[in-house]
Subunit: 334 residues, 2 copies
């Protein structure tokens, strides 16, 4: 079976905030599967802030996207033709072959997905890398311990929403920052103790100090910049910062203002640690087991923001930097 | 026996770099020791960069100095009169009652000093808190491990000189930064592999990149500012930064430029950890044991810069911020 797949290619490298012209839509023929291969139609793909880094021509923990080629990213698809015994038509598979409608690939390069009754796109969010990121950052990197007061930035995003809920399930006081009334309302719904609408304040440090007069013990950083500075100021001695992302900085075109107050890390004996979820896949079984229990008990939920059609994937991606996603930003392809 | 002691008091709180007028010299009578007390003449006192923080009226890990009162700090003295069985005249004692020529205090508040053949002032430097600071920062905070390339700022200072030598003894490639030809020559003498004279370069990041083309695994920070930025740029994945001090920032009167490049900590999975030596006194026995062996084997040495007379203690302190000390800055009182 031959298919035509539309895909999004990186046409030019963005300088600063990406624009639509950095991307192009192309069509390719998807060949029938040869021995050991399967043909897959994607149902869902994810857009994530970290992909901005891959658009620069810079070596990092993942190689840069190549100009003129389809971009990559997490996707859930359905096998439509198979030439390998391990997968059959109708099976769901996870891949890193997002940003396209369909593909043919070796069966061994794909992960068969058992949804355990969850919607398949959950495995691009709460039950996938963003969820594991939240779990690893809180439990391992920040070494969450009893009594910790937890501050989360980007709290209504794909990762942040899970961080907040895990911390609440474990009995912590949680302070969540997000932008706008809708996100703030969602954070209250999921039990966040103190919600900061950062768009409604000009002095985040003062606001955080007011809601956490005793200070914070853990900071889960998705944002960087003034959120990080506020956390340094409010940190108690021996506080731990899990540096997951700094979306406020991803499109910076100059060195900017830098982070102030880092000297506080000496006297307060703070630990700031960056992490990448792929270094901690060993924690996936523990995470999935805990997550399944929380979901079954009705203790953990999540939001999704859905755009439709691969042609709208760049627009969905750009919305991340304007904070126009509540929870996980997804593109529905199927 | 009644003594007169000259002491240095904090007269006014400095704004920015301290000046002579922030200090005053006063004379007090030192009473004869009552039951349980001893009278001590100080032989040596230390001035350390961290004392700058105590001159501000800000709660930190140590309380601020009080205006109109003698300042405090490490000192080695000799008991001249005793009214307690645990100490006798001629005994050497360590105290936090520096910045004065003599004092009377409860014997139980002092630590009797056995010099093991070292000069007594060594216990204010290599064999004291600065030495332990170097050891704790490298071994525990930075978790030094085989093959690590180690970058040290303030490398010719009280702590830095010991960091460099411990790292060399343990077989590491060491890059040391210090200001001026004399310090650079000393660092070469003690075997530092790559010496950076930061005063002779306008682009520390480029220079560090050139001497460590493969990157660094450990950064021991005594300086902050552009040294920290250079270290972030040169850091290899999973590098560990021991944040010991940031002398470049201690006299800042405004927020300044901030630290750039902290976002690199995410992708490179860096760990930045501040520490205070007093939280790690449990490592003192291990440190002293190793140090004694290194000194006996002629593997570890150190430099001192000595000023004379308590009246010159403020000047000695101010020299720290102009980098006018090679090794440990001390004031000889006896």
């Amino acid at each position: 079976m031959s298919l035509v797949s539309r895909e999004i290619r990186l046409k030019s490298r963005p300088v600063g905030l990406p624009v639509a012209a950095n991307f192009e839509l192309a069509s390719v023929d998807v060949p029938a599967p040869r021995a050991g291969e399967v043909q897959v139609k994607n149902l869902w793909m994810t857009v994530d802030p970290y992909m901005r880094g891959r658009m620069n021509d810079v070596e990092s923990y993942v190689p840069p996207f190549q100009l003129g080629e389809a971009m990559q990213g997490g996707a859930v698809g359905e096998v439509v033709a198979s030439n390998d015994a391990s997968l059959k038509p109708g099976d769901l598979v996870m891949s890193m072959l997002g940003w396209r409608e369909a593909f043919t690939a070796p069966a061994a390069s794909l992960q068969k997905l058992d949804t355990h009754g969850l919607p398949p796109q959950a495995f691009l969010g709460a039950a996938g890398m963003p969820g594991l990121t939240a779990y690893v950052g809180l439990i391992k990197i920040a070494a969450l311990k009893e009594g910790d007061v937890v501050f989360v930035s980007g709290a209504a995003g794909a990762v942040g929403q899970i961080v907040c809920q895990i911390a609440k399930i474990k009995g912590h006081t949680v302070i969540g920052s997000a932008g706008g009334a809708e996100k703030a309302a969602f954070l209250r719904e999921i039990g966040v103790d103190h919600v900061i609408d950062y768009k409604a304040t000009s002095n985040l440090t003062a606001v955080l100090g007011a809601v956490a007069p005793g200070g914070i013990d853990v900071y889960f950083d998705n944002v960087g910049g003034d959120h990080l500075e506020a956390a340094l100021t409010s940190a108690r001695p021996f506080a731990r910062f899990a540096l997951c992302g700094m979306i406020s900085q991803y499109n910076a075109t100059d060195a900017g203002a830098g982070v102030h107050g880092l000297m506080l890390a000496v006297g307060k004996q703070l630990r700031l640690e960056g992490f990448i979820v792929s270094s901690h896949f060993d924690m996936m079984p523990a995470f999935v087991k805990e997550l399944a229990g929380w979901v079954a008990a009705g203790k953990l939920t999540w939001k999704e923001t859905v755009e439709h059609g691969v042609e709208n994937a760049p627009a969905a991606f750009l919305k991340l930097f304007r904070g126009e996603n509540l929870g996980k930003m997804l593109v529905k392809l199927g």
